[in-house]
């Protein structure tokens, strides 16, 4: 694995001191910020995540806050997702697309109040897109990156740990809903959400100055729960079919190709950017789609898209892959051409170090 040269440009987070003290062993860079990728090792982290509880520094999920008279109007221009029943206290997964209907980001939006939203972004500078659009349309709206850094609590014991620190009311949060909880005089939004299938919460921590105080409080409270520092796990998220923008979908893909059609089908009255292109794409149907792919045996690091072939015919590409200890195969996410989508379809996988056997699965692993 190559080394990462530190610099101020790769921003540290309010929790970086804790992450380092916990023995982070590798990083990636996401939204110009450090995101841990392993502590005890990806496989050991994986087993621990499935059995206990972890605290994740996911500050890289930067927030873009929209507020002011035109905030809701702007959001309706930015996403094809139907916002008509979007309530204060809800989270909503909302693809953002460009004029051509291609994916720019797949954020989760939080409705904080009437005309007040926080957009929790994947890895592209959506702040610039939103500000550019707002500027061009002349909207009366404030668009900013606030001093808020998400901290996730994930794993089967997440409810217990969160309740010890934030009170039992946190247990009542429904999936993709958030509420305000107090921590030492600060009101923090906590949502039942997170980038794993093990359950848990995301705490929207701000200002930065309280970051390490909360970090330490969680570790103190969770000692007997075997709490550890963790991070989005490269194996578990593939097993669970959690897509990663930049890996599994890019500006070259439509929402329909990514299985996000139900969040991106513009209604006839929609004024969102890309509406015409999306309607055309919905009608035509996608030429390729994301599927789970099982690969026999271990594979090298998936540091590039791997071409898929059916005989000599190009059949798509693998976009993420990792060895799964639980399923004893390489679990993978692939963008597969429409002729090869059926479960059981055998495909050959061209990696940087040789050809492997793959097979399309009907569903993800969990």
């Amino acid at each position: 694995m190559p080394l990462l040269t530190p610099s101020r440009r790769l921003r540290r987070t309010p929790f970086s001191d804790g992450v380092e003290a916990a023995g982070v062993s590798s990083y990636t860079v996401y939204n110009h910020m450090l995101l841990p990728t392993a502590f005890m090792g990806v496989e050991e982290d994986y087993h621990h995540l499935k059995n206990h509880v972890q605290v994740w520094d996911v500050s890289v999920e930067r927030q873009v806050k929209l507020s002011g008279p035109d905030a809701e109007h702007l959001l309706k221009v930015l996403t094809p997702r139907d916002l008509s029943r979007f309530q204060v206290g809800q989270c909503l997964y909302m693809p953002f697309v460009n004029q051509g209907g291609f994916m720019l980001n797949d954020p989760v939006g939080l409705k904080l109040g009437e005309n007040e939203f926080s957009i929790s972004i994947a890895d592209s500078d959506l702040l610039l897109w939103i500000k550019g659009v707002a500027q061009g349309y002349g909207f009366d709206v404030n668009v900013e990156e606030p001093d808020i850094s998400p901290l996730a609590i994930q794993g089967p014991k997440a409810d217990e740990l969160a309740a010890r620190v934030f009170g039992d009311e946190v247990r009542a949060l429904r999936f993709f809903c958030f509420g305000a909880f107090e921590f030492r005089g600060h009101k923090l939004h906590i949502a039942r959400s997170g980038f794993s299938k093990q359950g848990g919460f995301e705490v929207y921590v701000g200002p930065s100055a309280i970051g390490m105080e909360l970090w330490d409080a969680l570790f103190e409270a969770g000692r007997d729960l075997e709490v550890r520092a963790g991070c989005p796990n490269g194996i578990e998220r593939i097993e669970g079919g959690l897509l990663s923008y930049g890996n599994d979908m890019t500006r070259d893909n439509t929402p329909f190709e990514c299985g996000l059609g139900k969040f991106a089908a513009p209604r006839a009255d929609s004024s969102c950017i890309g509406a015409t292109a999306l309607m055309r794409a919905a009608e035509a149907g996608p030429d390729r789609q994301i599927r789970a792919l099982e690969i026999q045996g271990p594979a090298p690091a998936c540091d590039r898209a791997w071409s898929l072939y059916s005989g000599y015919e190009w059949a798509g590409e693998v976009t993420s892959a990792a060895w799964s200890p639980d399923f004893q195969c390489t679990v993978a996410i692939a963008m597969i051409e429409k002729d090869f989508l059926q479960a059981g379809c055998p495909l050959s996988v061209q990696t940087q170090s040789g050809v492997l056997d793959g097979c399309v699965r009907p569903v993800f692993w969990i």
Copy 2:
């Protein structure tokens, strides 16, 4: 130094195979892409760069191409830089600012033709900003990231190496001018430019498929020149005062604070985004400015901004620093509050591992 976990999201380049074969030892991530930071070691690379010639994979300088009837109009909206004498064949350094007059990026623009520009960007998704603005204003312009990846040839023997591969005409290129040169049937733009003070060229290589062919041709032609794979050098660029967006300036800084006032003073008739804010900022004068700072003795890795103090008074922050073998001190770039700008001003530097003595310099080292 921490490890970097590879993934498809951290894009490889057309030259990555060559970079790896040449023994890259560390990377950073820039515009969602891999940028080498060292081969033989930052200090050995530094000495070699100053004496010989290096080939740099700077594909991370992604291009944003503007073309169509409103391309020039759009560019005038996007940058305060005066474009009235911008000629085809010229490169122009052009800060982009937001509505508040704060830096979004500091790209170099190439004028390819009337209403045809290529913007060579620093580390932020300027494509999204430009597309957002173009969308909002309803401009008739095509905005895209083409399949072009810059390769730099830098060092005192750069002219000799470039001439051997592209012909002697390349020697006649003036600084920040570009021309079209042929390489095995492909027309490539080559500019006399690059992120070092050692002289040289940037070759705009596309399509990707010819990347390794050109890479190999340069190494073959330069064997007796001691050509090596290199990269923007963390020491040399600080000595030369070459600013890095994300390190030395961010969205929190105006162009005036960054010494870029002459490129960002909007004329009275300017319609660029941020014009009003820039005029106000120009009139008020900057509260802080970038300066060279000499630090006694070696310093730790500058992975965060280091606070500067004059006694107990806050005096600014160091944004980049590295030990200089040639000048036998830690060379640094700092954003310094206006009361402490004078050359010779002693400041204490709070690093993550202790306090060091610093001194404001009148100029950079070269």
